[in-house]
């Protein structure tokens, strides 16, 4: 998941945040029955756009329910290690966990989290499920028909591009992968330190996740219909060749070392024309404190191969309840989930910069639209979204690692796509 987002809050934003929190507290102060007085909920949260917002919302939740919310923010690897250790050791350290959508398989298989299916059915009206995009519901919460988590912060994979450069060259925003490749090469100008394209190249999750995105848009797939790995399928080999071509002919020389942070930094510094990214990072391009390209960036839906029906990458985080905690605590955690994902609070959650849009109503909300003009792109992405391009199976971490090595070795010129993916496929088969 993207790690590039950082929040830099100007003074005006701080005031508006305080106002929002105050308003939320005031609007809920009249509720006299504080059913969760004395309860403390501990959330293990990924360090992403939403994590700081969660801590800022904690007073409002306490005012409404009486429960304290303790948010422990950590990086991706630490979150996975600490929460897994908590689940395995039955230590009940965390009541709620932000769950990356690719962990769903492992959660389901090991019953780490409370199966929320019955509660979702029971509280369907309150949850207003129809307002949440089906792809978000399915990929951020469900696994094999059961809710192992509840959708919390969804991200759309979008194309960020330099409007000024495209305008100067008289080019339109690419709508197909073929156009993207051609335009990236055409606009590549190393002498001016302007490169046509940038993506993650670093060995490991960084390059694996970015390539899987492009692979999806080029018609490739990591697993077949039965969920078995097909890493070296013809489509995958072809798409890896395209990815390599983009790196060789249009990317900054050091892109092979970039992870999410390096990729975003190079785009914000004005080094690249095209970059696919998670929507959560988009607001940062307009922040003059960290961006050299303020006012020069456009956001569009990601291109797909010519003739292919649109399917765009969807990712993000669900909120899962630790299955080890006792029943009353589970109910309290569910109360929090319902509260934070409710129409009203989730809108404020995004107004405060969480960047995890997932409700249809948010895409047409005037307040949100005034702040985030790219919401129609996210809506379009969700309408044709695919949350399975990174297979949500228990073996995902190992497959991602195999791909991380294979794709990186191709970019480094150490292997051909056929060799690298063939080797990865042989290793992947042993996992099943």
């Amino acid at each position: 998941m993207t790690k590039a987002f950082s929040s830099f809050m100007p003074r005006s934003a701080a005031y508006s945040t305080a106002t929002v929190i105050f308003a939320l507290m005031a609007s809920t102060a009249c509720v006299s029955a504080k059913s969760l007085d004395g309860v403390t909920l501990t959330v293990a949260s990924m360090n992403d756009g939403f994590s700081k917002v969660l801590t800022e919302l904690a007073p409002a939740f306490k005012a409404e329910t009486g429960a304290d919310l303790k948010v422990e923010i950590m990086d991706y690897g630490t979150l996975l290690t600490k929460t897994t250790a908590d689940f395995i050791g039955d230590t009940k350290g965390y009541d709620l966990v932000t769950m990356d959508i690719v962990w769903a398989g492992a959660y389901a298989e090991n019953k780490y989290s409370v199966d929320l299916t019955d509660w979702v059915k029971r509280d369907a009206a309150e949850l207003d499920l129809d307002d949440i995009y089906p792809v978000v519901r399915k990929s951020l919460g469900e696994y094999n028909g059961h809710y192992v988590a509840y959708p919390f912060a969804a991200y759309a994979n979008v194309l960020a591009y330099r409007k000024d450069v495209l305008d100067a060259a008289g080019l339109k925003v690419p709508t197909t992968m073929e156009e993207l490749v051609a335009d990236a090469k055409k606009l590549n100008d190393p002498a001016k330190k302007l490169y046509g394209f940038v993506a993650n190249g670093q060995k490991g999750p960084a390059v694996a996740q970015d390539w899987m995105q492009y692979n999806n848009q080029l018609g490739g797939s990591i697993v077949d219909k039965d969920g078995k790995p097909v890493l070296n399928s013809a489509a995958n080999i072809k798409s890896l060749a395209v990815y390599k071509e983009l790196f060789t002919e249009a990317a900054p020389p050091g892109a092979i070392e970039y992870d999410w942070g390096g990729r975003e930094e190079s785009f914000r510094q004005g080094m690249a024309v095209f970059m696919q990214t998670w929507s959560v990072g988009a607001p940062v391009y307009s922040d003059p404190k960290v961006s050299n390209i303020v006012g020069k960036v456009g956001i569009a839906v990601a291109p797909v191969a010519k003739g292919m029906s649109p399917q765009y990458g969807v990712g993000g985080w669900g909120l899962a309840i630790n299955a080890d905690i006792d029943k009353p605590k589970q109910e309290a955690a569910w109360t929090f989930i319902k509260w934070v994902t409710s129409k009203k609070i989730h809108k404020e959650f995004n107004m405060m910069g969480a960047g995890g849009f997932m409700r249809k109503s948010q895409m047409t909300d005037p307040d949100l639209l005034a702040k985030y003009d790219f919401l129609p792109v996210i809506a379009e992405t969700y309408e044709h979204g695919n949350g399975e391009f990174r297979p949500r199976i228990p073996e995902y971490p190992e497959i991602q690692d195999l791909l991380g090595t294979a794709v990186n070795s191709v970019l480094a010129g150490a292997a051909t796509p056929e060799e690298a993916l063939g080797k990865a496929q042989d290793a992947a088969k042993k996992l099943f």
């Binding site: 020389p253 050091g254 092979i256 070392e257 228990p394 150490a414």
Partner: protein, 299 residues
């Protein structure tokens, strides 16, 4: 019946040693035994339901899987070349700093700075400096057309050698310090006798200094070899084991399998193999130094 004094003394000594024995058993032997036990299982914490006894299969996989074999070879290459370079450079620097003077003491203090920086930070610093787009070294190398266009750490032919040089930058001072301590402890009368007898500088070096320095060399070699064999931090932050598997090491493999995939069975096997290799290397070093000692000093 009264116990004898010798028995009481025995019990007393046993009781005195008991805490240390218990401590070693709890933090050393028990985890080691657990690790050996786990290594015979296909055991993943994320998929506990699929746990099964596989005998020596994890060990067979370590030596038959090309990626794992590559990690073993990389580890040996890294250890051999980095320690050898550090020994040569460290000895030269120690000889230069042998004479006790204010200048040498100041130089030594500055020389030790790299060894005080944590390897993870060293890795991050070098990664930043060697980056082809922004790095203060990498950018100019790329502009000058020296080395790969994408940076020295991104090429399978150069990445491991760069890591060896980074390790030398950091740990040669430690090697120097150990060897310098050895030099300072050499018996002055023996060296003086050599000079009086008319031995040349080279003769004094290889006939007096080197033989007398063998214990210090053994200490420095053993410490650095064990350390280099367990290299992890700098590799993790600079290359992550890439490009391809060209800088993957045994510790990288073990940490990835154990803490990233929670593949406890295989990670335990990797840990045990690493431990065996280190024990083997230490034994070989000991034998070589002892044989040299016998040959040179005749004892």
């Amino acid at each position: 019946m009264r116990t004898r004094f010798s028995d009481r003394r025995k019990y007393f000594l046993f009781l005195m040693a008991a805490p240390a024995v218990l401590y070693v058993a709890a933090v050393g032997l028990w985890p080691l035994a657990q690790g050996i036990g786990y290594s015979f299982y296909k055991y993943n914490l994320l998929r506990p339901a699929r746990t099964q006894f596989v005998g020596f299969q994890n060990y067979v996989d370590i030596f038959t899987d090309p990626a794992t074999r590559r990690a073993i070879l990389n580890t040996f290459q890294f250890t051999l070349f980095s320690v050898a370079l550090q020994l040569v450079l460290g000895f030269c620097l120690a000889m230069l700093l042998w004479r006790d003077s204010r200048f040498n003491r100041i130089v030594l203090a500055f020389l030790l700075i790299p060894a005080t920086i944590t390897p993870l930070v060293v890795g991050l610093i070098f990664k930043a400096m060697l980056g082809a787009d922004y790095g203060i070294i990498g950018f100019f190398l790329a502009e000058a057309g020296i080395g790969p266009r994408t940076g020295l750490l991104t090429d399978a032919n150069t990445a491991l050698w760069v890591l060896i040089l980074i390790d030398c930058w950091e740990w040669t001072p430690l090697m120097t310090l150990i060897l310098l301590a050895g030099l300072k402890a050499l018996p002055a009368d023996v060296l003086e006798a050599g000079r009086v007898d008319g031995a040349t500088g080279w003769q004094r070096f290889h006939m007096l200094i080197l033989p007398l320095m063998l214990p210090s060399v053994f200490l420095a070699l053993t410490l650095r070899t064990m350390d280099a064999f367990r290299v992890f931090d700098s590799v993790f932050v600079t290359t992550g084991g890439g490009p391809n598997d060209s800088t993957n090491t045994l510790m990288m493999l073990g940490v990835k399998e154990g803490l990233q995939f929670f593949n406890v069975g295989f990670a335990s096997a990797v840990g045990n193999v690493t431990l065996l290799f280190i024990a083997l290397i230490a034994t070989v070093l000991l034998l070589v130094v002892r044989r040299a000692d016998v040959r040179i000093n005749g004892k």
